[in-house]
Amino acid sequence: MSIFEYNGSALVAMVGKNCFAIASDRRLGVQLQTIATDFQRIHKIHDRLFIGLSGLATDAQTLYQRLMFRHKLYQLREERDMKPETFASLVSALLYEKRFGPYFCQPVIAGLSDDDKPFICTTDSIGAKELAKDFVVAGTAGDSLYGACEAMFKPDMEPEELFETLSQALLASVDRDCLSGWGGHIYIVTPTEVKECTLKGRMD
């Protein structure tokens, strides 16, 4: 089993009309044994920027702590929040620093730019950025997620429809992957509010 499949994860972010949604599964496992069913994979950097970290959980935790550290200092020095594009560049640089002993994580970054336009991107474990206009996926359920999103995605969805679409895509994909599942966590972010929901799917 590869080190990226040790804990199991599923992460997806999708773009809507002036909004975005980011969702993850809730299982934390040690190979085939399930340890926790309420594991938080998505973290808030600030009100308009979220990052989800798939892959090895210990590296995800450390990477998240380092990124919060950098962002807090940035906020103090520059007296403003980081733009999503800037944050994505920072993540990429941090990951490449460990080029020859990398973090075994694949981050998914989702945020609202200054003009309220949604921004999503993912990087591989050594920082190669992949920008997308529709959706990005990561984790052990990644391949299934690609299929489900490709089939269900429509451009310019309103927040309610985006929530439905993304939830269905996530739950359908994790059912095909034994290492992720046990429900889902989804955040829908618009310029005015952030809605956080827990999904109940097949609890296995």
Partner: protein, 235 residues
Amino acid sequence: MGDSQYSFSLTTFSPSGKLVQIEHALTAVGSGQTSLGIKASNGVVIATEKKLPSILVDEASVQKIQSLTPNIGVVYSGMGPDFRVLVRKSRKQAEQYHMLYKEQIPVTQLVRETAAVMQEFTQSGGVRPFGVSLLVAGYDDKGPQLYQVDPSGSYFSWKASAMGKNVSNAKTFLEKRYTDDVELEDAIHTAILTLKEGFEGQISGKNIEIATIGPKRIFKVLTPAEIDDYLAEVE
């Protein structure tokens, strides 16, 4: 000076609470050629005298005003070689920021980091402070900005400022003529008039340097021909 017995070491305060080397550095700045900057409502202009030691010097090869990024430039009063070192360090810091964030460094951040470098040299062993004061002009998302950085590492944001030989006359002149809504073109004329005030000899495009940054956010050093045009307008 009564505290001269404490001026052998940078890292020692004198009894009056001063770091004497910094005072001396400010004296070096004060005897340097006049430079000034004016922040307009839609841009910033910086200018300096360019008095060369002899008519045989090729004035085109002397560049006292330098750009640090496409939208930030700097001029100095004091020791030219110290200025070159600071410009080099600042440019590197600006590029490092860009490499990390893929974004142009904000003016305040670059000024802060340059000032931090200058402060380091007032608290390290075996070095002396920089003998220059800088006027940093930039235009970023916060609008046009003008900062002065001193050898001690302290920095201030100014609407208009002058440094060097003729500083008190120049500042009085600027205080009288400055208005909050002055436009860039008028600011350039005011800058020329301020330089003319204390200028010994005939002012021309070859013995002053002027640079501007406008709403397009591009830092541009004016050519001698362009300066001569402005000089003609001012007459």
